[in-house]
Structures are given as C-alpha cells and as structure tokens.
Symmetry: C2
Subunit: 352 residues, 2 copies
Amino acid sequence: MGKRVRLVDVARAAGVSQGTASNAFGKPHLVRDELREKILAVASDLGYRGPHVMARMLRTGKAGALGVVFPDNLEYAFSDPVAIELLRGIGRECARQAVNMMIISAENQEQAVSAVNNAAVDAFLVHCYSDNNEIIAAIRRRNLPMVGIDTDIVGATATVVLDDYEGAATAARHLLECGARKFAILSLQADEQGQFGLMDARRRGSVSHRVVRERLAGYHAALRDGAIAVADIVHIECENLSENVRAQVVALMAEFPDIDGILAMSDVIAIGALEGLADIGCAVPGQVRVVGIDGVARGARTTPPLTSVAQNSVEKGRIAAELALAGEDVAEPVLLKTRLLVRGSSTDTTVS
Amino acid sequence: MGKRVRLVDVARAAGVSQGTASNAFGKPHLVRDELREKILAVASDLGYRGPHVMARMLRTGKAGALGVVFPDNLEYAFSDPVAIELLRGIGRECARQAVNMMIISAENQEQAVSAVNNAAVDAFLVHCYSDNNEIIAAIRRRNLPMVGIDTDIVGATATVVLDDYEGAATAARHLLECGARKFAILSLQADEQGQFGLMDARRRGSVSHRVVRERLAGYHAALRDGAIAVADIVHIECENLSENVRAQVVALMAEFPDIDGILAMSDVIAIGALEGLADIGCAVPGQVRVVGIDGVARGARTTPPLTSVAQNSVEKGRIAAELALAGEDVAEPVLLKTRLLVRGSSTDTTVS
DNA sequence: ATATTATGTTGAACCGATTCAAAAAAATGT
DNA sequence: ACATTTTTTTGAATCGGTTCAACATAATAT
C-alpha cells in the first residue's frame, strides 16, 4: 500500500527540478530530448501514473469538460429523439475540441443544484424551456459561460433557438394550402407544471415556455392571414409523449368532429395524433391533415408518413457547444432556420 | 476585474480561522449556528461563490463523476438505440447516487487516450466489444475502478454481459420450431476492423468480439441440436446499420433463394433484413422467418413486427454504473437474462 | 575574442480548498 | 469550586501539480 508516486518523487529520483519534470510531461519541447527520456524512464520505473488530473486542473483552472444540463426532466433527455440529436451534436463538437462532456444528473431540484455546484467544467449548456428555476440560478452563480438552448436565459453568454415563430407559421400556412379550415393546435406544455387538456385563452396568455409562446404566435398569425379566427381554434395542451396524446386526440375528435387540420408542436405529439386518428378510423390526410415540428427520423416511417417542419437538432447542439466553449458573449440569439418536409399526412399528391 | 474571492478571504473578513470557514460550508453541523450564519453573510457580502470545485477535488480525491467510454465508435453511442438505453440506465444510477456522468469524447484513438487521461472521474464504465485497445490500456493505467459492459476486459473490476449464448440459442430454437430449415446468420462485426460480407469458417474461428463469439456458439449449438449442419448455414458479417444490411440481404437472397430462417445478432440488423426482404417481395414470415436480438422499441412497429430475444439494456447500464461506483472487485461476470418476444416476423399464429 | 541571442533548467510561489491534532470554551457532574 | 466531558475553534500541513522570473549554458554573430 505505498503512497501514490508524485511528480516531485520522479524529479528527485531523476535528479532534476520539479519544473523540468513537469515540462517533460506537459511541454516536452522545452526539455532536451535526452533528459526527457531519462525522466520518463525514471517515472516509469517508479510507477508514476502521470500528472494528477485534479492537481493540474486546480493549477491551470481548466477542467476540459463541458457541462450539459437538462433541468426540466433528466431521464427525458435520453428518451426524446430531439434531445438525443442535440446530445449527438454536442458530442460532435466536444470531440472536435477534445473536451469531455459532463452530463449533470440528479433526481430532484435540490440534488441538481449541488450537482451543478460540484461539476468541474469550463462552461454550461442548458436545454430547457424557461428561466425561473433554482438550477439556472445555481449555474449563474458559477460564473462560467452558459449557453441556453431553446430558451432565453437572462444573463446567458449566448442563446441558440429555432426560428419557432416562422416554423410554426410555415406549418399553418401549409395546412391552409392543403385546404384545412377547422384547426386544432396540440401544444407542448406551457409551463413547468403543465395543465394538460383544453387550453383556454387565459392560459394561452400566460405561457412561460418560450418555445410554446413563439409557436403559438406563429400559428395564430398564419391562420389569421388565412381568415381563421383564433377563437375558432381548439387548443389542447399535451405532454410530449405519443401514448398520452393518442388518447387525448381520440377525445378531441369526439368533441370536435369537424376538425380537419391538426398543428402539433412536436413530431412526438404529431405521431401520437396519427395513432389516435387511426384508432377511430379517421382518414389522414383525407379527413384530417396533420403537421408536426422537428422532422424526426421516425416521421418517415409512420402511416401515413408525417409532414413536418424540420429542424437540424444535431447542428443546434453543435453550435451551442461551440458557443459555450468559445465563451464569448453573443448578444443576439442565434436563430436556426426550419425547412418544410411535405409527406403524406398533409396531402395525397406527394406520394413518392 | 478583482481576483476571485477565496475561502481564506471570507475567513479573515469574518474573523474566524480558515478551518471554521470551511466547515461553515461543508460541515455546517460542526459550527455554532450563529457563527455559521455570520460567516455565510460575510461570504455573501464579499461575493464568495462557494468552495472552488477543483481545489476541493484535489484535497478530497473525489471527483463526483463516472466516466463513460465508448471506444469503438463515439458518434455511434448516440445513434444506436441499444446504446442509448444503456446511457439511460447509467444516467438513472448516477442520479440516484448524486454523481455526474462524464462522457469521454474524442475523434480518434490518440485523442481518446488523452481524453481518458484528463477526465476527473472516480470510475470508468467501458462499453465495447474487445480488449486489445489503446484506450483500455489508458484506462487501466488510471488505476480506477473499471467496469466492462458486453465484454471481458482483463483486469476489470467487474463485467456485465448479456447471456449471449443462451439468448442466441433461444432465437435459433424458436426459428426451428417455426419450421425453418435453411438458415442465414447475420452477424455483428467480428473484430475492430470488420470484414463485411460472407464470413468463412476461418474468420468465424478468430472472432475477437465476445458478443459475436458467444452468439455464434449459441446459434450453432441450437441448430446442431435441430440437425442442421453448421456447414449449411450461410454466415454474413454486417455493419450494425439497417441501410447497409438492407442491401446485403437483397444480395443474400439472390444467391441463396432457399433461405427460410434469418438469425440477426441485433434488431437493427434484423430491421434492415425486413426492409431488404420487403424490397424483393419476399413474404415474412411466409417464406422467410426473421428473429433479432435486443428487443428495441422500434421492433414493435415494423411490418411485420419483429420477433426478438429481448434484453433489458437500461438495467444493464444501471447495474454496470452501480458496480463501477461501488468499486469492489466482482470476480464472476454478471450475466443478464434474455426473454423471447414472439411477434409477427417469425410466425403467423401469434397475431394479437 | 567578445557581444548577442537562443535554448535549457531551476526553485519558489501559487492554485484553493479540507483535515486533524491540539487548544479553548462551554456544559455537566460531584 | 473543581474535575470531567462535550462542543467549538484554531492553525498548520497537505493534496499534486504548473508557471515564470531568473540563472546557466550553448550557439551564432560581429
């Protein structure tokens, strides 16, 4: 049970100063070849395992890691297809910059705060929907670069968001062109708690999640331009889980059988809607037309294939990671463009 | 641009020793309430951000993080459904134990070695298929607990694997019962390089990936019991990507039109096979029966739904994380059981 | 041969906490 | 009032490196 061999032990054994021994490992070009090899040989003899990671971090102040936080829901990060794409993009940029990826994990708010406080990282990436959050406050206290994804966090170094307004408007315009006149909007949850079911005007007026607010505004603007009154739209707040939406849509169609256009704020929701419509034998796109947002891979395999306003989540994650690691303030949010992906759930004509 | 406020500054300003100031943060019960509140107040006034993470790590030697390494293929970790389930399980256990999850990321072998060397973690989890690897050597050098998933790593603290032999045998027995007599085995890649295409007996004899070796043995044993000669089985080595397998299967059926049973070593491969069979209008399960391994969610939605030998990858990840964080040597590999999930790709009778 | 520049090495300061034996203060028992 | 026990507080040692100004040596220029 000998003690760990330290750099100073190596230096002594090799008869050099500690500074030189350090350079032999960290800045090899500063040490004469012959001497460096001797030092390395001595180190190897002594069983030195190389510089102690934590000691190096303390001295240099660099952790070599990017913190990734999903405050809303942590298990969720590994089940939602969009979150996984985000992670893939983050991972890609981390690999490029030779930085590790620290996923902050916790079971509850309190634990998350201490997880944030104990994370040895150089910057934080936060994916969430709104700001009023203990965890965000803890991150802010760390005084490290912090980049928000899909949300405006007050005091963030940078923010990366989808052009949600325009994306939603595109979806709505598309359904109008396809001939839909009676719309249902299947919203993502509007705030931390979520009140699933019919969404009245008051609730729509106090949406705290940026994504939901913007998409709602985009839908409404486009529909108004198509001479649809907002009051005639049915709004439903959904959990982002296909299974739950499926049942909600069955109920929705029972109550409002004349609905012929469904605007879903995510593909997961849209897929749930397709399943629900299939359950009640409702023809898509014959009777009801459906369009989602995200453009997830699975949408290509549903029956009918899902029309969606696609985003590039991998790239979103990558850019966010890049900005976080750069650490420089970016005043304006980075706005990512969407792309309409027309498939069978909105119109028959484009059967490939 | 003042310097960072340190604990010693707080201690001085509050008129207490540094030790007491430290306790006020880390071991509150050791400090008189009144005094602790005063220290915290002074700290807050001075703008102290709380104990420096890296300094604490250096002193205590605890990183509060679990390293997760995917040496074979890093982008892959976020695209393979099984790997994601594994990550979910690891995340779950990390959350339970209030430990963060450090994903080691790198673009190449060399970078990965230094990523491993720079990771401030308390233990490593390695998911890969074989041992002869620079990265594994680097991890071993760190002298931290190391748990292998799906592979035997020499010198690992513990190993968690599927009961691959029995699982494969189950799959083969099932197809025999369904009446298949002429078999193709679609193998995962056999070693680091992978030689995709027909797999001759020599190559089958020198498989370095444990998973492949075991599953092959399991298939063969069961088929031999069913009076099928190994020489009559067609072996194909596949990349674990549905798209590639799809084309391989089209070619396979052209060359061996009498094949009526396909044993796929993963569901991703099996799904590719279903697609390829659909391309050439081959009836499943009428003409060819297919069974995969893994039991991924998507298998429930293919046409026909995929029969598979299911494993619980989430639990596999969770157990591995638990063992890594415990850090105690476990001599025998932990063997996880499989469960046959009969669906439409192997037999018509069980249409639900 | 001497001045100048480039290269290699040294040694002490520093990064910022936690820990623990010992001292001080407060509480309890007789 | 004194001895004993318990609770608080202290202060210095320690974790294990990296950095940088200063010094020494070697190489090149004049």
